[in-house]
Symmetry: C2
Subunit: 349 residues, 2 copies
């Protein structure tokens, strides 16, 4: 066994050149495809490439200016069904466009987020997509604004999906879906079936997604001249456990209501369990609705009436707009529509 074949680990363009009896430039040109090369030379080079099983180092190409641009996707937890669908949309569109897609979950830790954005800056990523609601604090705006500026000055772009916008002038693309409108339509549907005491299982009070949905709940009431009992507005987070706990406690307190609207399908799932545990029939005794239209919404029993959010489309759109813009484009704001999907969990009263 010669030394040559022993260090088979990685062959360089110069190895290929030597084997084909040409210069490295020629190999590069053959592989590049545009520069005219005689077919005899091309054949020899291609054979050498095949024999050595040569693949050009993408990092070296990137340094030399021929980039395979990368796209970064940051979310809290890929395990959540709606996040997973956005991730899917992002990934599909990115590979369709020939980009690599790197993913990072932060577990909601801001430090992870900052660290990761820094890495993506070093990688010269084409765009960084930040996903998932967040509290809209001044601190959030400042921090995110700084990320946007740094990314922009490094030639890439920040995209915010379902996150609070930063105010005018930030080099950022914001894509949201209509939380308030969807909740409005959903609650209007519930009210139109005759319910008057509708329990709302909301999220964290400073979380913009939760706020939007809560605003929709209130607006739908007021549009009918109703003022909801403040005692019917409960706050937790977007987990199943939260829905379960909130509803069990409400039941124990003897709170009166004929319908429950959950800020999330997950919350609705937890609420449904609590309802079943209490021996209540859904929708016979209490109606229930969710939000997000995750695939499992239709497997619950009864199948859950909810609001459909085009998560996958959101992801696709995020990469399309991110890549279509130059870093200098100022802020841009898109709003995707949502719609109610009526299933079996809301009954007339």
């Amino acid at each position: 066994m010669t030394r040559k074949s022993a260090d088979a680990s990685r062959s360089t363009i110069r190895d290929v050149a030597a084997r084909a009896g040409v210069s490295a430039s020629t190999v590069s040109r053959v592989l590049g495809g545009v520069y005219p090369v005689s077919s005899a030379t091309r054949t020899r080079v291609m054979r050498a490439v095949r024999e050595l099983d040569y693949v050009a180092d993408a990092r070296a190409k990137a340094v030399a200016g021929v980039a395979t641009p990368t796209l970064a996707f940051v979310l809290e937890d890929i395990t959540g069904p709606s996040f997973a669908h956005m991730a899917h949309g992002v990934e599909r569109e990115a590979t369709r466009l020939g980009h690599l897609c790197v993913v990072c979950s932060t577990d909601g830790d801001v430090r992870h987020e900052l660290e990761f954005v820094e890495m993506m800056r070093a990688q010269r990523a084409a765009a960084v997509i930040l996903v998932g609601g967040s509290a809209d604090t001044p601190e959030y705006r400042e921090r995110t604004r700084r990320m946007a500026d740094q990314l922009a000055s490094a030639g890439s772009r920040l995209v915010l999906c379902g996150r609070p916008p930063l105010g005018p002038g930030a080099p950022v693309t914001v894509i949201e879906y209509d939380n308030e409108g969807g909740a409005y339509a959903l609650v209007a549907h519930v009210l139109s079936r005759g319910h008057r005491r509708v329990l709302f299982l909301g999220g964290k009070p400073d979380h913009t997604t939760a706020q939007g949905r809560e605003r929709g709940y209130l607006a739908a009431h007021r549009a009918r001249g109703l003022e909801p009992d403040p005692a019917l507005l409960l706050h937790g987070d977007f987990t199943r456990d939260s829905g379960h706990r909130l509803l069990r406690e409400a039941l124990k307190r003897g709170l009166e209501f004929t319908a429950v609207v959950a800020a999330t399908d997950m919350v609705a799932a937890g609420a449904l369990t609590a309802l079943h545990e209490a021996g209540l029939d859904v929708p016979g005794d209490v109606s229930l609705a969710g939000y997000d239209d995750i695939p499992f919404a239709r497997d619950l029993h009864p199948a859950l009436t909810t609001v459909h959010v085009p998560y996958e489309e959101l992801g696709r759109l995020a990469v399309r707009t991110a890549l279509g813009r130059t870093p200098e484009t100022p802020d841009e704001h898109l709003l995707l529509g949502t719609h109610v999907v009526v299933r079996d969990s809301v009954a007339a009263r």
Copy 2:
């Protein structure tokens, strides 16, 4: 505005050097941290870095030999709950170890898979993790073997998660979970509750995951001296629709059974819908069990008895073993245990 500040897009190490009045080598040394540099110089350099908001280009560093190793994760569809959990495990462990994690979904298309592995070879990824069952054909083995060899010769390693192994000698790490054992335990549980005609909703006949679960089904019967009616073995795929369709047709054909074991929780969800549609009570009239223990299994009504698979742990383990080995390590095979989780969907007969 000078030309200097106009092309603010990306500053190089030489820009920093010029601004600090030192050479590029010195900047590199300050940032690298090990080489002795006087504190005065260090301060000047750090100030220049801050003022220019400089971040070293990770690709250039990689070319120079200081790599931020990348890990690739290939699956069929991130949207499936069990895949999502594996992805989560992989991602968490990878970032914990300081690796970037790029993800690709193939939609089950082999061409995408090959293309992507090629890209990862070009990226000099530290490891490529292939996830999800597959048909175990000679063509599969040959193709995958070739990928493993190419990857190994490029210094990285192929990891197969829940996929058919390749036979001895392939430079590959295989991590599986115990499909047969889990199904055996689950079906044994069902049989012990007095059921004798247990419908099995299986997957594609050449899919190894499906085969393993089916073997467990058969073995559990035979261990009790029972020989299941072949008419009770149905084949479809691992989707909810498949479960729905299969069960509806079985019911229409008048097939007799008192329990249903689905090869997947998703399949079970579809089957449950079909059962409900037929006015059957679960578990009163028919018992039902699934496999995978996806989070929603406990939100079904009744909560689904199923087999827990440690998907997240699987992902973590995949990256740990992938990174722990040198490319020369020959084949390695790990098997993770599974266990039945009893909930409310199986009743005594």
